[in-house]
């Protein structure tokens, strides 16, 4: 039996941050005071620091061992309605002065923007929740090596056609950031992120295929079992062998959960403040319009404990809230920071830094159930390229996956494209699955779209 890899202690020596919260807070304060001294009417400072370990094993041997240690100070200085920004990785006294000076100098040249400014104090987070994001992993090099070796070996053992490997890797990272502004907001917290991944190569009669599997979480105890990840990577790789092109056709398309995530990603970009005020969205002015089928609901859940996208306050110190974005298929809110809010005549929604833990309400069908629901069509398990036009919603991407008939996988397919328009695709969603993928900032099950154009032979 496999054991879960986690060994936890409250303050793991391997993940000791080299700055204390007090020292980061003091740097924020000092930069704010310096900005004031140089004449800024308002300022905001973020100081961040992280340490990490990345260990890669290939064919059983350590291939790379990387120790990561990053730090950054960034500042926005407001001079009335003008502003300037500067950042540095150098934490010396002189660099801090130079950085403040650079932001202030820029602000003297940029032109007044009637919408510039900081969020009203009324929106700032006051007593924010501990979202349980900090779980350091005391992981020695030997332990990390063993985890990666077990993962990769399980992949080789699972399938005889796995003949090569890009390796298995273990990554653990711990970060701390403090945000402060001249209106008196000061907040910060620590967070961790750990992952275990494996990418394998299989050879068939007509060439090679590569695929991967991974697990990622805030807490090492929540990571998948190494052997399961290795086996999954092997299965995903081998099942792609012998892929065929399809003839060009229109047919139903089922996006597997990790691909369905990209559709929801296009949605969140389209409802973001900049996309709206730059008129660069296929969902321009779509507030209160029905953009998905009536049964669909999408929420933002920034306050989910241990969520990969969780944050108690946004990039301006504004309180984040769990809230619906789409109810009964109708768009209920844009995702706005204070600047976009002023531009659009609305209130900030706590989205400086983006939407967090965007969650599509799961349907009732599991993965096999979704295949049966589709009947005959294309299951997409990989997409390549950036062929999404954010302004028009025109969609055309390279795809690989499986041809499905009567709810059963018939054969792998590759070297095809799928195309449509996102507005039409969203309205043509037939079902969302219960097979939710929680490994990211967007959580959705698989998504079935009634019909798209598939181009091949």
């Amino acid at each position: 039996m496999s054991q879960r890899p986690a060994v936890e202690t409250p303050e793991a020596a391997a993940q000791a941050l080299s700055h204390s919260p007090e020292s980061l807070r003091a740097r924020v304060q000092q930069a704010l005071e310096e900005a004031k001294k140089q004449g800024a009417t308002d300022a905001q400072v973020v100081v961040s620091h992280s340490v990490g370990l990345d260990l890669g094993v290939r064919k059983g041997e350590i291939e790379t061992l990387e120790h990561e240690r990053d730090q950054n100070l960034s500042l926005i200085a407001h001079f009335g309605q003008s502003k300037g920004a500067a950042s540095t990785t150098d934490f010396s006294e002189q660099a801090l002065l130079d950085t403040v000076e650079a932001a202030c100098r820029i602000a003297r040249y940029t032109e007044p923007d009637p919408y510039a400014g900081m969020p009203s104090i009324a929106f700032k987070a006051v007593d924010w929740q501990d979202l349980d994001l900090d779980h350091p992993w005391e992981l020695s090099i030997a332990q990390a090596t063993e985890l990666a070796q077990r993962t990769e070996q399980a992949g080789f053992d699972a399938e005889s056609r796995i003949e090569n490997s890009e390796g298995a890797s273990v990554n653990t990272r711990r970060a701390m950031a403090f945000l402060g502004d001249t209106q008196g907001f000061m907040g910060g917290y620590r967070s961790t992120r750990h992952s275990l991944s494996c990418a394998l190569v299989a050879r068939g009669d007509d060439g090679m295929q590569r695929d991967y599997a991974y697990s990622v979480s805030r807490r090492a105890a929540d990571l998948g079992i190494p052997e399961d990840i290795g086996r999954e990577a092997a299965e995903r790789t081998v099942r792609r062998l012998g892929g065929e092109k399809l003839s060009t056709r229109s047919c139903p398309v089922l996006f597997a959960p990790e691909m369905a995530r990209t559709l929801i990603g296009s949605f969140t970009r389209a409802i973001s403040g900049p996309a709206q005020f730059r008129e660069s969205s296929f969902l321009l002015n779509a507030l209160d319009e029905r953009i998905f089928p009536e049964w669909m609901r999408i929420e933002e859940r920034p306050l989910t404990p241990r969520g990969l996208g969780s944050a108690p306050f946004d990039g301006e110190g504004v309180q984040t809230r769990n809230r619906p974005l789409v109810e009964q298929g109708v768009l209920r809110s844009y995702t706005l920071d204070s600047y976009a809010a002023r531009r659009l005549g609305r209130e900030t929604t706590g989205n400086a830094g983006g939407a967090r833990n965007v969650t599509v309400r799961p349907g009732t069908l599991d993965a096999p159930g979704m295949l049966r629901e589709m009947g005959t069509g294309l299951l997409v398990t990989e997409l390549i390229g950036q062929g999404v036009n954010p302004v028009t919603g025109d969609y055309s991407r390279g795809a690989a996956g499986f041809w499905v008939e009567n709810g059963e996988i018939v054969h792998p397919v590759e070297e095809i494209t799928i195309a449509g328009n996102l507005k039409d695709m969203f309205r043509a969603i037939v079902a969302t699955g219960s097979d939710v993928d929680y490994r990211g900032n967007i959580r959705t099950g698989s998504i079935l779209i009634e019909s798209m154009t598939v181009a091949g032979e």
């Binding site: 061992l65 120790h67 990561e68 920004a85 990785t89 295929q209 060009t248 660069s280 154009t453 181009a455």
Partner: protein, 479 residues
């Protein structure tokens, strides 16, 4: 022997001199170590952007740090530090060498190497224009775009410049410095007609100062080009779907080469046998007459470097000669393990990233055909002249690149514009289907950034007009 600028920006502030560098090499590397380097970098970068007709924001960033890499066999240990003082460097060195139980030597003599080429002027682009001149430049672009057509509703443009001072001290004690300027101007416009909105974008840049954009009305030309593209898209009909003949325009459509064969010919994937091109040197992978090179030695180009990030001179490397696969792009580690020499393609995003084989400027040499004749030879097909990005699965060889401006070819004539569509193909065989090569080889305007394993580096591409007999076009209109 050490470049003055490197001394001032990297060594003096940290109190480092030649004796410290000598001790650092001696302590970091030693018996049993096959290679590695201490990579020092000082980068300053600025960006100015215009929106709604005003330059409302700008940023300035400074990064300084050192990455220490120790290589033994196939293994690499790596650590980096934002602090360049000796104790921090020695700590990073100790961490990086933890993969190897190797001896140390007291000190290694540091010898300066001077790059053989000067492909760009080391002046700081940020100082090449005054702040007000930068703002005026962006305003000129905005005014030009708005004046070009009343259907323009939004103009967004940005000006970015950086200078990196890079110092590579390798395990042999060889010390090489390079000072790298880079600028870029981008314009994006939104046009609207009868409720339909479309966008167009243009831009360019390279390793020079901002004055480049003032010469020959270059900035204004970018503005007009972005508007032209957006207006073409207003008229675009649904793109066709299926396999057809494709004619690619010259210049930036060379992203085809970058995706279809470039990545697949990087030394790391071939040493590990994970590339669809592995073990195929000497085989035919393109039609006769096709020659493709990766050339980091072009003056002022975005993808050019005097030396790569391992301190080795960049080269003109022939990848495919008259259709036959001739070589891979190598860094030191992969060259050593493959029993060959580096080609000066070892690149990294910054001191906080590991180097690996990367492209510089990748392009196909021109042929004999007149571009008009190429279009005229196609009865029914697609003519694609502008592209967004692309992507490749190097193991299966499948690659895509996405057209942002394309037209139907009907009876040998370019007719209606069609909406953007992704083109997909198989790298090892797509170039065998090239049936005509134009005499109009052109390099891209200097806008490309290549991503690999999470690291972005500036690159260039180029090609002449090409006719490909059979690629899958991913439109919505099935024939």
């Amino acid at each position: 022997m050490i470049d003055n600028l490197a001394r001032q920006t990297l060594l003096d502030p940290a109190g480092l001199g030649e004796s410290e560098l000598s001790r650092l090499v001696g302590t970091t590397f030693g018996q049993g170590i096959d290679g590695g380097d201490c990579y020092f970098q000082f980068a300053c970068q600025e960006g100015w952007s215009l929106e709604d007709g005003i330059v409302k924001s700008a940023n300035f960033n400074i990064e300084r740090g050192a990455g220490i890499r120790v290589v033994r066999g196939e293994q690499t240990g790596f650590a980096y530090s934002d602090d360049l003082a000796m104790p921090a460097l020695l700590e990073a060195a100790g961490t990086a060498r933890s993969i190897a139980r190797a001896g140390q030597s007291g000190g290694v003599a540091v010898q300066g190497r001077t790059p053989a080429r000067e492909l760009y002027v080391p002046d700081n682009p940020i100082d090449s224009l005054g702040e007000q001149e930068k703002i005026d430049l962006l305003k000129e672009v905005d005014a030009e775009a708005r004046a070009a057509d009343p259907r323009v509703t939004q103009v967004m443009c940005s000006l970015a410049g950086s200078r990196e001072v890079v110092m590579v001290l390798n395990a042999r004690g060889e010390l090489t410095t390079d000072v790298r300027p880079l600028v870029r101007l981008n314009v994006q416009v939104i046009v609207e007609q009868g409720g339909r909105r479309e966008s167009g974008s243009s831009g360019g840049g390279g390793r020079f100062g901002y004055r480049h954009f003032l010469e020959n009305g270059q900035a204004a030309a970018y503005a007009r080009e972005a508007v032209r593209q957006a207006l073409v898209n207003l008229e675009a009909v649904d793109a066709p779907a299926g396999s057809m003949k494709v004619v690619l325009g010259p210049g930036w459509p060379g992203v085809l080469l970058h995706e279809a064969i470039g990545h697949g010919l990087e030394g790391d994937f071939n040493r590990k046998g994970t590339s669809a091109f592995a073990g195929r040197i000497g085989e035919r992978v393109a039609a006769e007459g096709i020659t493709i090179v990766d050339d980091g030695t072009l003056a002022g180009r975005r993808g050019s470097l005097n030396v790569d990030d391992e301190g080795n001179p960049t080269e003109e490397t022939v990848l495919i000669e008259d259709g036959i696969l001739r070589g891979y792009m190598q860094d030191e580690l992969n060259a050593r393990l493959s029993g060959t020499q580096t080609t000066g393609n070892g690149r990294r995003e910054s001191y906080a990233h590991l180097p690996m084989p990367r492209m510089t400027n990748t392009y196909m040499l021109g042929g004999n055909a007149d571009p008009e004749e190429i279009i005229g030879s196609v009865e029914d097909g697609l003519y694609a002249v502008n592209f967004g990005g692309g992507q490749v699965d190097i193991t299966s060889g499948k690659f895509v690149f996405s057209a942002s401006e394309a037209y139907l070819i009907e009876n040998g004539k370019v007719t209606r514009p069609v909406k953007g569509a992704t083109l997909i193909g198989n790298g090892p065989d797509v170039l065998t289907r090239v049936s005509m090569v134009g005499n109009d080889m052109q390099l891209d305007p200097g806008v490309g950034t290549c991503g690999k394993e999470g690291q972005g580096v500036p690159v260039g591409v180029g090609q002449p007009t090409l006719r490909i007999d059979g690629m899958t076009v991913g439109g919505t209109q099935a024939a």
